[in-house]
């Protein structure tokens, strides 16, 4: 019985992620529009866009290879897998043991590499340029993210996300100064990873400094739809990760369906606030030159490492 409800929760969580992810993007866009004194687009615009893209036919470059066509499915699958692992509704997920935080970073890296390779496949200048920049962001963001996780792991003596969240949410309450550093680092990494200002600008298509959009310039139709959907999923997963690590309250332990009564509303509130804050950050900061990005991410990396050191210095009692 326990197991069955766990499976159900897992499926629920997945479906929720797939459905809510575009909404989160829409929400952020709306908040941003408000903050910028623009009239906001519809909250449902991302869904309509996806539907439109699925309808459209795919235009492939003559020399696009199989890799190019397979990549969107693959990237999408990676993000789905990631969203299945991050605890949002319960910490007791059947897929939880399949991948711990290190593997989660691995999933993101896998998706990144596929999208970068796909960007290089057609052989246009924009694609390779985007791929190169994406990898530049990636090689700095990945270790930073890993170090954020390591800080959490050192506190909770585990790399399993479920255990980490359980430790933070349900064991004795303790203040971890190291998590503050980790939180700042994580925010910076999330901005970079989700192609947000100040690293990238998700709203433009033709700008010499763009990254993500440059890579997927050759995609169209259902391929583009999958990639966009994967991008929204990624943002959703990152948000949930941040919430799970730094604001874990409200994620119930155990696989009881009744827990949903607490879990769902708290998730909705947290995501709403999180999305708003993201919009605030994006509005308040200016886009950086691409070569400032390594500095930005280097700072994030240092912050994460510092967090780990702070933990070892102040919190292990030595």
């Amino acid at each position: 019985m326990e197991f069955a409800s766990a499976i159900l929760l897992q499926v629920l969580e997945l479906v929720l992620a797939l459905l809510v992810a575009p909404l989160l993007t829409g929400w952020v866009n709306q908040c941003r529009a408000w903050l910028q004194n623009r009239s906001a687009p519809s909250l449902w615009l991302p869904y309509r866009q996806l539907a439109k893209l699925f309808e459209k036919e795919v235009v492939l470059a003559h020399n696009a290879s199989g890799l190019f066509r397979a990549a969107p499915y693959f990237i999408f699958a990676c993000m789905v897998l990631a969203s299945a692992i991050v605890p949002t509704l319960s910490t007791d997920l059947p897929f939880g043991p399949a991948a711990d935080v290190i593997a989660l970073v691995g999933i993101f890296a896998l998706a990144r590499i596929f999208i970068a390779l796909a960007g290089m496949d057609v052989g246009t200048s924009f694609g390779t340029l985007g791929a190169r920049r994406e990898m530049l962001i990636g090689f700095l963001a990945e270790p930073a993210l890993l170090m954020v996780f390591f800080t959490a792991s050192l506190i909770s003596h585990s790399t399993s996300l479920s255990t980490i969240v359980e430790t933070f949410a349900h064991r004795e309450f303790a203040i971890h100064p190291s998590l503050a550093f980790a939180g700042v680092a994580f925010t910076m990494v999330s901005l970079a990873e989700n192609a947000r200002v100040p690293i990238d600008n998700p709203t433009t298509h033709l700008e010499l400094t763009m990254i993500h959009e440059a890579m997927i310039l050759e995609y169209s139709g259902r391929h583009l739809a999958l990639i966009e959907w994967a991008a929204t999923l990624k943002m959703y997963v990152y948000s949930c990760l941040g919430l799970a690590l730094f604001f874990p309250w409200g994620i119930p332990q155990g696989a009881l369906l009744s827990n949903l009564l607490i879990a769902l509303p708290s998730l909705a509130v947290k995501l709403g606030v999180g999305g708003f804050l993201l919009a605030v950050i994006e509005t308040a900061s200016a886009k950086m030159r691409i070569f400032r990005a390594p500095e930005f991410l280097g700072t994030a990396f240092m912050m994460a490492v510092l967090g780990m050191l702070v933990h070892l210095l102040l919190e292990t009692g030595k």
Partner: protein, 681 residues
């Protein structure tokens, strides 16, 4: 009476297989120019032997050590051989990898390139046999003989195409560093066998490893032996700052040889350092671990950073090998540190990561080198800047290369990820170390490892993207052909190994338990077995877990489902068109990003690592030209100064020989007088 056939795990099997390898090599001399015979008969035979070796080594894992004494050797020191689990594991690595490479080589061999095929066959199989003997040797002499045979047979393989000066230079550098390193190893054995006791040994020299194991070493001499061993084996492995031969020799060698060297030979150095530091020396000091860890980290970071800016595909892979060797040394350092504080389970975790990564690196790096071999044959081009778009012309090679690239970048669910995962897990335990500073510094080292892994991914994307994707940068590339059937078999074998090693870590770790247990008295076997074959949880499931198979199935399921759903609810229409040209219709394939361009961001970030020479065109140039040379600081910091000192020394001694006989007589006279003065009363 039928011949008694030894058990499959007996040491007689590997031994006879080594002899068969030697015989196959010798057979190559019978018809040195007969390509069909050498290529289609001898190399496949060698591959079979490799496979057989893998099987018997696998059987021997976990069995009690067996020894043999041969008639060969020095009078009081016949060759002692011993097959224990550590040897068996590396023999397995050798056999398994060489099976793929030999089959590939059978298809790869062409006539008319340097050394005659038959001779090359001899060198190649001598190389294999000597590596096997290195792993089996149980005394210092046998070890050194095998070790140096390995060095010079591979030297001849590297210089197969010795008409080219740069290849000769590479071979020279390689053999020189190998030889100096070998002297270091030899001296290390010298210390080990005496145990630092200058007079106690009353002149009887016993060079067997058994004796070394039984000897107690005081801290100073143990450290001396360890230091010399790190120097010697590090020179072979490509540890900084003795790495310079590696990026020269790997590109110079024919691709199967590069694969063999990178995949297997470097591991023999790892084997050596493990043998010395865990088996022959009893108790490591904590700073050994820290030293090795630091060296490994620097090496790994250096290798990764350099591999990302290379513009020659084999050099790129060679630097990537340096990076992986660095990671292996990081693991060894970690294991030593844990071991020095008697935290044996954690030491076993780190050591398992090392061994696992050794296996993985052998599989994926060999695969990648073989892929470059096929590319090289198809295009006669090694420079990344002149390749591109090959996925259309050589799909087999491309997809197998993609497999290797993903594994090499350490991505789940392939094999590279598992070992890096284990390594990082080991790092997360370091706060438990009872030493104030190390337990804080080592997590920082974990950050560097993570950074290294990420940069490695960068380099791998560059490698695959530039070679196989995009548009062909040269006209002739459209004529490229895919690899032949034998080459495909060889590469596929290694590719399958990558996948299997990635998907079934529990089996592998269970087997590695047999290796770590005799060395450390601890292993991960029980812990992983307790969780079942699906879930990998080296310590316990709460602490960390990973299920590669579930991982893969999930991805495959989602991909399949998505595909079906999209087809079901929408459509699968595709229209082909020209790529978007940004409104500039004159774009050619040459305008794609170059290899240098792809590496440029990294070059900028890690500028102090490189020694850059850049020639930028000016707007007045008739023939604008951009040239960029990335060099290694170590040449200027270490090697050239050493060369200068040697040169200075030789200039100094030249004063001894100025041609004037009176001066010569004076030398003799002064010598006489000085000696007389010294012995006087």
């Amino acid at each position: 009476m039928p011949l008694p056939i030894p058990e499959l795990f007996s040491i007689d099997w590997p031994l006879s297989l080594v002899v068969v390898w030697l015989l196959i090599g010798g057979a190559g001399l019978l018809a040195p120019r007969n390509l069909a015979f050498v290529g289609k008969t001898l190399y496949p035979l060698g591959a079979l032997v490799g496979l057989a070796l893998a099987v018997v080594a696998f059987e021997a894992l976990g069995e009690a050590p067996q020894t043999r004494v041969l008639v060969l050797g020095l009078p009081d020191l016949p060759f002692h051989l011993r097959l224990d689990s550590l040897s068996a594991l590396f023999l397995l690595l050798l056999g398994g990898t060489s099976a793929g490479i030999s089959i590939y080589a059978a298809g790869y061999l062409r006539s008319g390139e340097g050394t005659a095929p038959g001779l090359q066959c001899l060198e190649y199989h001598l190389f294999l046999a000597s590596m096997a003997l290195v792993l089996l040797a149980d005394d210092a002499y046998a070890f050194m003989v095998a070790w140096e045979s390995m060095a010079f047979s591979s030297f001849f393989l590297v210089t197969s195409d010795h008409r080219k000066p740069e290849i000769r230079r590479a071979g020279y550098l390689y053999l020189l560093i190998a030889h100096v390193g070998a002297i270091g190893i030899l001296l290390s054995f010298g210390v080990l066998q005496s145990g630092g006791a200058l007079s106690a040994s009353n002149g009887v020299a016993d060079y067997t490893f058994a004796h070394m194991r039984a000897t107690d070493h005081d801290a100073f001499w143990a450290s001396a032996a360890f230091g010399l061993a790190v120097f010697g084996f590090g020179a072979k492995a490509g540890l900084l700052p003795l790495h310079v031969w590696l990026p020269e020799a790997h590109p110079a060698a024919p691709s199967p040889v590069s694969a063999m060297m990178s995949g297997v030979m470097l591991k023999t150095a790892i084997y050596g350092i493990l043998r010395v530091s865990f088996d022959l020396l009893h108790h490591p000091l904590w700073w050994w671990g820290v030293l090795v860890l630091a060296l490994g980290l620097i090496t790994a970071l250096f290798g990764a950073v350099f591999s990302a800016v290379q513009s020659d595909m084999k050099r790129l892979l060679a630097y990537s090998s340096i990076e992986n060797i660095g990671l292996l040394f990081v693991g060894i350092g970690l294991a030593l540190t844990f071991r020095s504080f008697d935290m044996n389970t954690l030491a076993a975790l780190a050591l398992t990561a090392v061994l696992y990564h050794g296996l993985n690196h052998a599989a994926f790096k060999s695969l990648l080198f073989l892929c470059t071999g096929s590319v090289l044959h198809a295009t006669r081009e090694r420079s990344l800047g002149k390749l591109g778009g090959l996925i259309h012309h050589m799909p087999w090679v491309a997809w197998l290369a993609l497999l290797g690239v993903l594994a090499s970048a350490g991505l789940p669910p392939l094999n590279g990820f598992v070992s890096e995962w284990l390594l990082l897990q080991a790092f997360l335990f370091t706060p438990g170390l009872p030493h104030g500073y190390i337990n804080m510094l080592i997590p920082v080292a974990a950050a560097a490892v993570a950074l290294t892994a990420a940069i490695a991914g960068y380099a791998m994307v560059k490698f695959f993207g530039i070679v196989f994707l995009g548009q062909p940068r040269e006209e002739k590339l459209t004529l490229a052909h895919d690899a032949g059937i034998l080459e495909r078999v060889g590469m596929s074998w290694l590719g399958i190994l990558c996948i299997l090693l990635g998907l079934f870590p529990v089996f592998v770790i269970d087997k590695l338990d047999a290796v770590t247990r005799p060395l450390l008295g601890a292993g991960l076997g029980e812990a992983v077995r307790a969780q079942g074959w699906l879930l990998l949880a080296p310590i316990n499931a709460d602490r960390a877990s990973y299920e590669p198979l579930v991982f893969l199935l999930m991805i495959v399921a989602v991909v399949a489902l998505t595909f079906l759903i999209v087809r079901r609810f929408w459509h699968g229409r595709v229209r082909r068109g020209a790529p978007w040209d940004c409104g500039f219709p004159l774009q050619t394939a040459r305008m794609q990003d170059t290899a240098e361009g792809f590496g440029q961001p990294l070059r900028q970030v890690f500028e102090p690592f490189y020694r850059l020479t850049r020639e930028l065109p000016t707007s007045f140039d008739k023939l604008p030209r951009y040239r960029m040379v990335v060099e290694d600081h170590f040449w200027y910091w270490l090697y050239l100064p050493v060369a200068h000192v040697a040169d200075f020394g030789s200039r100094m001694v030249a004063f001894l020989q100025q041609g004037r006989i009176s001066i010569y007589l004076l030398f003799s006279f002064v010598t006489l007088v000085v000696l007389l003065f010294l012995v006087r009363g």
